[in-house]
Every structure is written in structure tokens, then in C-alpha cells.
């Protein structure tokens, strides 16, 4: 959401993208610290999926340094819109664990449980379709590295709809992975002459403080409220992508 604003203020778009990646590490690490301690984040699932997100991010960031990303903005705006379809049909949705688990997910032990503070119950779950989920994460990493975003909304969509993880596990695990994805992106941008300290430092300060506060609120919210919040964030992201596309034509 920051990138269109920075571009409007006269910051070159590639510089805005590279500096945002650093702020994303702060956001992810700051909020993940409390989710991981509350045992909602599934670190094993995150580590498996990071194989794909970092590969995508390095590829994406490399592409951004060589081509103008104008058409991709429109592509991702359209792409984000697809996540609305699933959400609208499942408005009254409360998570039910999938009984099915494919062979690879079982072999990797991709399962877990967490204590839901709102329902006061321990929720158990299994991940399904590990390979397809991994490919989804490759696309998420590609988008993240290319556009300087966390691609968290897309990671959540893949985890909920393909891997069949509960919403809270999806959002916190996605958030945890975003830091590693952003590190992969930053590793490409590091010495490209795009990282501006006078831009990054205030962004990192704001992102860290916001993330530490946000990380303490999530487990107290119901899944329905979380879904509505997610819906609005995806809507804002679509506007952001279209805006980027239009402004860079």
C-alpha cells in the first residue's frame, strides 16, 4: 500500500519497491515473534514452503531489475480478484479440519494444532496437496520479489484453499514466511544502488512498531472478523496494483 504513495511523492518506483522489501522484513519479524510464541504459526510448513517462495522471490527481483513491470501490475490486480470468489461463498465459514492428506505432506509431517483463544479449543489440522501448494508459493514469491510486496494475501489464499490450513494458521504462517521471502528479494536489490537509507529507516521504524502492536491482537479476533478484514485488504491491494499499472504506463 505504501508503494503508490511513495511514487506519488516522487520516489522512483524501483527504489520504492526495493526499500519496501526491507520494511517487509521488519513487519514480518515484528509480528511473527508473538504468533510463533503462541504456537499458531506452523514453522515446519513455513520452512517447506520457503523453498518455493525464496526461489520465486530471487527470480522475481531479478526480473524487476531488467524489465519494466507495467503489464504485471494489471496481471496481479486481476489475479488478486480471484481470491474474492472463495471468500464470498464462505462468509459463514468456520474452519473444519481436512481429513485427507497426500503422501508428500504426510511424509514431511505437515500437520499441527493450536489453541484458539476465542473458542477455547485446541484445533488440529493436516496439510493437503503439498506439491500444488508449493507451486502456488513459487508464484507468490515471484510476485513478492517483483513488486516489492509481501504477497501475504496470496499466500493465505493458497494455504487456505490448497493446503487446507485454518485461517489463523494460514495468516500467521504466511506472515512468518514473508520475512524470508523479503530477505531473498533484498539479497538481489542489496547492491543495486536502490536501497536509500533516508527512505528505509523511517519505513522500518513505522513497520516495526505497527507489527509489534498488530501481532498482539490477532488471536483475540474471530475467524469471521479476520476474513472480513482480509477481504478489505485484498480490495485495497487490487486498487493499489491497478494504480501502479496506470501510473507506470
Amino acid at each position: 500500500m505504501l508503494i503508490p504513495l511513495l511514487v506519488l511523492l516522487g520516489i522512483p518506483v524501483k527504489e520504492a519497491i526495493a526499500c519496501s522489501m526491507v520494511a517487509i522484513i521488519a513487519t514480518s519479524s515484528g509480528s511473527a515473534a508473538s504468533y510463533v510464541r503462541e504456537r499458531i504459526t506452523n514453522v515446519k510448513i513455513a520452512m517447506y514452503l520457503e523453498i518455493f517462495t525464496i526461489s520465486g522471490a530471487i527470480l522475481g527481483a531479478t526480473i524487476t531489475t531488467v524489465i519494466p513491470p507495467v503489464y504485471l501490475y494489471f496481471f496481479f490486480a486481476a489475479f488478486l480478484m480471484t481470491s474474492f470468489l472463495k471468500i464470498r461463498h464462505s462468509n459463514d465459514y468456520e474452519f473444519r479440519a481436512s481429513q485427507h492428506q497426500d503422501r508428500i505432506a504426510r511424509w514431511l509431517g505437515l500437520k499441527g494444532s493450536y489453541y484458539d483463544e476465542r473458542t477455547k479449543k485446541v484445533m488440529e489440522y493436516n496439510a493437503d496437496k503439498a506439491v500444488l501448494g508449493g507451486l502456488g508459493m513459487l508464484v507468490a514469491g515471484l510476485a513478492a520479489g517483483m513488486l516489492g510486496i509481501g504477497a501475504g494475501a496470496f499466500k493465505v489464499t493458497v494455504q487456505e484453499n490448497i493446503l487446507k490450513l485454518p485461517p489463523k494458521v494460514s495468516s500467521t504462517t504466511s506472515n512468518f514466511m514473508i520475512g524470508m521471502t523479503a530477505l531473498a528479494g533484498v539479497s538481489v536489490y542489496l547492491f543495486s544502488g536502490l536501497l536509500n537509507l533516508t527512505l528505509m529507516a523511517p519505513m522500518a521504524i513505522g513497520a516495526t512498531i505497527g507489527a509489534i502492536i498488530g501481532g498482539r491482537v490477532l488471536n483475540k479476533i474471530s475467524d469471521k472478523v479476520l476474513r472480513v478484514l482480509f477481504f478489505f485488504i485484498v480490495a485495497i491491494l487490487i486498487i493499489q496494483m491497478l494504480y501502479k499499472g496506470v501510473t507506470s504506463v
Binding site: R39, S187, P202
Partner: protein
């Protein structure tokens, strides 16, 4: 609330990672705030500059890292503290990765040693080569 063996069942790893991430972001936050304050006192402005001196330059991350801590680039200034703050932020997920490889090695969980080691190698190579 009893959360002993929830999450992915790796409770010690989760606790360790949690403290590590928190320490990383707080150290970085303090360095950034002090750095920005020092920069403001010397420049009397917090505007985003396009001067080449405010951009990060170098050849590879690890050489750059040692040079920073040896104070080869404008020591004691706001810009140096801001640079170190950014380095700490970049190192936070990196150390999280190293910790995970060591943890799974200690647990003799070969599958996850390979998974985390692969990610570590790719990230390290990317940090060295770019």
C-alpha cells in the same frame, strides 16, 4: 493457557525463534531511531534524499558487514547507525534460518535439515553474488 506442544510440535524451536525475532527487530528499531535522530541533528532535515551517500553500496553482503562493524564507512554518524540497523534487520531472518538448521540437526531430523539447509544455501549465495 497450556501451549506446551502445539504449533508444529517443535516447541523449543518456536520459543527460540520468537526471542530471536523480537531481539532482532528491537535492536534494529533502536539503531534506526538513534540513527535518524543523529542525522536530524546534523542535517536539520528528515526529507528523503537522493544524494548518492545515502544509498547502500558494496560488492557482497558479508564483506560489507565486516567493513561496517570495523567502522570503515563514516563511523559514529547517523547514517552508519542506520546502515547497521538495516544489516541487523536483514540478519534477523538469516540467523533464524541458521538456528533452524542447527535445531533440526540436533533433533536428527534429516528431512528438515535438508529443507532448511537448501534455503540457507540459496539465500547465502544470493547475498554473496548480488
Amino acid at each position: 493457557m497450556n501451549t506446551g506442544k502445539l504449533g508444529s510440535g517443535e516447541s523449543r524451536l518456536e520459543t527460540g525463534i520468537s526471542y530471536l525475532l523480537m531481539a532482532g527487530v528491537i535492536i534494529s528499531l533502536v539503531l534506526e531511531i538513534v540513527g535518524v535522530a543523529l542525522l536530524y541533528f546534523s542535517n536539520h532535515s528528515l526529507a528523503v534524499s537522493q544524494n548518492q551517500s545515502v544509498f547502500i553500496h558494496g560488492n557482497d553482503f558479508f564483506t560489507f558487514l565486516f567493513q561496517q562493524f570495523q567502522g570503515k564507512h563514516s563511523p559514529g554518524t547517523g547514517l552508519q547507525l542506520m546502515t547497521i540497523g538495516i544489516i541487523v534487520l536483514i540478519l534477523t531472518p538469516f540467523i533464524r534460518l541458521v538456528t533452524s538448521v542447527v535445531y533440526f540437526g540436533w533433533e536428527k531430523n534429516l528431512k528438515y535439515v535438508l529443507i532448511t539447509f537448501f534455503v540457507l544455501v540459496v539465500i547465502t549465495l544470493s547475498l554473496i553474488l548480488h
